[in-house]
């Protein structure tokens, strides 16, 4: 036993438990602190994940390719005339498990007998679209689009309610075609979809791409090509590769981070915010750590004086105190981490349901259920912050202990 654990450590361990109540009290502070770092950190990340998911699945995808003028002016004039060339390159460049789809996407006006409003008309290829965005699974009434659909349209439930319409009814869609004229066409509502956010339901109307192409006179051209990767964290790297392969042929290639710049800002700031939270919680703990260690030191001054008189080097005393502090911190960190991971695991089944705050959630672009997202860098970061900074602040009492001259120490009661 003593070969494995040094004598100093054994003594430190026994010293720690000389006053169990005091040790347990400060350990509880560390446990609660570490738990909160991990649990709340995971919730903060989970919230942002929800926002990113929302943004991506709505229609953004991981990589978007447009005509270079389209992002600022999303009109029919700015289209990709040679989509086949782009999809060939995607085929060669993207990793296995990626999917992509091409769309026609323009702003339009939807009308029926009594209502009219602005919408975004999206002409899709039903099969490939289902693998890339939310719409494949989202149809709750009627049916999704099929390959032979010439005049079927799928609209959101909120839009159907606003227009006081339903399955089987007509909807007239007007938009500008390639010759600058207003093209208008009647579609029949074959499906109604539900989405995470009401604005999605009100804004997007889906038809078959061929139907849109006939209406707008675009032939084989498309407005956008969107790809979904197996892992969204690789989007930036992949975007650069695709860009290079395309050799910037008058096309703009963006990752979801560039298409949703507000999220990019939040994501960049998030690591900093989490670190700030860790430091604040640590400071709250630190007062207790220093106080407790000081108490432990002063209580044993007589003992330290004796040890010094017997020849123990001051440095060894410092090490001893630090060892005691590190044992308390480590126990607290381990237990706190375990409880933190456990609570995250338990919450991951149902998440936190924010449906009662639906509009606020939508205003902030969040998803309605938040799941904790545990990142190993947070878990290790929390432990590292507490251990390293904890040892740092314990230096003060440790040095104090080593400074007593034996005479001072032994004359104190």
């Amino acid at each position: 036993m003593s070969a494995v654990v040094s004598m100093d450590m054994q003594i430190a361990w026994r010293n720690v438990w000389r006053n169990p109540r005091r040790t347990l009290t400060i350990m509880t502070a560390v446990i609660i602190g570490v738990w909160s770092m991990i649990f709340l950190g995971a919730l903060m990340r989970g919230m942002l994940d929800g926002m990113v998911e929302n943004g991506i699945s709505t229609l953004t995808g991981h990589i978007q390719i447009h005509d270079q003028d389209y992002p600022d002016d999303p009109s029919i004039d700015h289209r990709i005339d040679n989509p086949q060339q782009v999809t060939d390159i995607l085929q060669r460049t993207l990793p296995a498990g990626s999917h992509w789809t091409s769309r026609l996407r323009v702003s339009a006006v939807a009308n029926n007998a009594r209502h009219s409003t602005g919408v975004t008309l999206v002409g899709i290829d039903p099969e490939s679209e289902a693998r890339v965005s939310f719409i494949g699974d989202a149809v709750s009434e009627g049916r999704y689009l099929r390959d032979d659909d010439t005049n079927a349209i799928v609209i959101g439930r909120a839009l159907a309610e606003q227009f006081e319409t339903g399955l089987g009814y007509k909807l007239i869609v007007m938009s500008q075609d390639t010759s600058g004229e207003i093209a208008s066409r009647a579609f029949r509502i074959r499906g109604i979809f539900q989405a995470e956010m009401e604005s999605t339901e009100k804004n997007f109307i889906f038809v078959h791409r061929d139907a849109a192409s006939t209406m707008l006179g675009t032939g084989n051209a498309v407005s956008e090509i969107v790809a979904l990767l197996p892992d969204y964290n690789r989007a930036r790297a992949m975007t650069r590769e695709v860009e290079q392969a395309l050799d910037n042929d008058g096309l703009s290639v963006r990752s979801w981070r560039e298409a949703l710049p507000l999220l990019e800002v939040y994501l960049d700031m998030q690591d900093t915010y989490i670190l700030i939270w860790f430091v604040i919680v640590f400071i709250a703990m630190a007062f207790g750590i220093v106080n407790t260690t000081l108490m432990a030191v002063f209580e044993r001054m007589h003992e330290f004086g004796l040890l010094k008189a017997l020849g123990m080097r001051p440095r060894r005393i410092v090490k001893g105190i630090l060892a005691e502090a590190s044992l308390i911190l480590l126990c607290g960190i381990v237990v706190g981490t375990l409880i933190g991971l456990l609570s995250c695991w338990l919450l991951s089944f149902h998440g936190i349901d924010l449906s009662s705050l639906a509009e606020g959630v939508e205003y902030a672009g969040m998803s309605r259920i938040i799941y904790p997202d545990v990142e190993s860098r947070d878990v290790f970061g929390a432990g590292a912050v507490v251990l390293l900074l904890g040892l740092l602040v314990s230096l003060y009492p440790a040095v104090k202990a080593a400074r007593f001259t034996p005479v001072e120490a032994m004359t104190r009661i």
């Binding site: 109540r21 005091r22 009308n111 604040i280 709250a284 106080n291 108490m295 606020g360």
Partner: protein, 415 residues
Amino acid sequence: MTIDIKMAWRNIWRHPRRTILTVTAIAFACILLVFMLSFQFGSYDTMINSSVKIHTGHLQIQAEGYRDRKNIRYVIPDPAPVERALADIPGVQAYSPRARAFALVSSEQRSYGVMVEGVAPESEARVSTLEAIVDRGQYFDTTDDGDRAGVLLGELLAQNLKVDIGDELTILGQGRDGSIAATVLPVRGIYDSGMDEFDRSAIQIPLPTFQSVFNMGPAVHELVVVADRLSDVPRIRSALQTPLNNIDADRPLKALGWDELMPGLRQAINMDLVSGAVFYLILIMVVAFSILNTFLMAIFERTREFGIMMAIGTRPGRLMRLVLVESIGMTLIGVVAGIAAGCLLTLYFAHTGIGLGESSELLSQFGIPGRLYPQLSLLSATAGPAAVLVITLLAAGYPALKLRRLRPVEAMRRS
């Protein structure tokens, strides 16, 4: 009693370092809470006021159901009686009628679906920032009539439509009675609100022009009201109830507060408050456990002393009181110091503001200005410290209760 206080005071300073660390811990928690709460409250007010003053106003009067359906037929048949009622209510700063409809707007090269808003030039300038943000061309002339009517639109929309001042726009939509509403108007002014969504999706024309083109008669859809202060809104709402009920209309008229017009904003604020509260409570608990040892030590290392005191006749209740006075004393010093320092810190930043750096440009999209100013209020200065006080006293009280069961002989035996 005073001797208890004297004793308590001296007891506290028997271990100066320990006391100072404890007091500092409490003060740290209080400073943090005062500052953070002031910051939160300050940013809410800023967010609300800037959001409402851009366009929505503090209150709006609309026909029932208009907010949800935006149906052109859900109208205020005549704004005049409502305006008269508003003129009588104190705290109302300005009001203006608006009418809206969706239409296709075409320039020579492009067409877009946009929201067409009919605004009353003179009063609109008092309820929204529209006049102030026109940076090319001109705002409406307050005497605009059909002949000199024009269109105001956002910079982004002007770019997308490829138009400049003086170019003509064709507006094509559906009138109130279902008939075709069509007109051609020149671009009179171009504005930049700083919010892309807004600049891209709406155009403004004079209200009389709108009413004639869309066959509205004298009707409008919204009466936008700006109040002197955010806190006046509930009072103005209740003052409007009777006058509105007395107006005859197909659909009853309702006064909606900004939190109903932008429910997302109110709920987002609530969410922020609740999540903030969770963080703060956890933090206070960590602090409480952190300093618990001080309170524990104050009792357990003086067991012998207490034993002697009890042996010479001190009641356990008095001992408890003594210990509690010590704990309360330390806590109060910490809380008061924390509030004072927290207020100073907050006031400093309330003056200079906190810049949001690079992200400020992006956040202006949401109407969030680049600098946020924490706002010190009675609530923000006391709510946090009050929670700290309560939780700390609970933590201190628990060990004190143990004193009741102290037996003098056993206690004196401890060294």
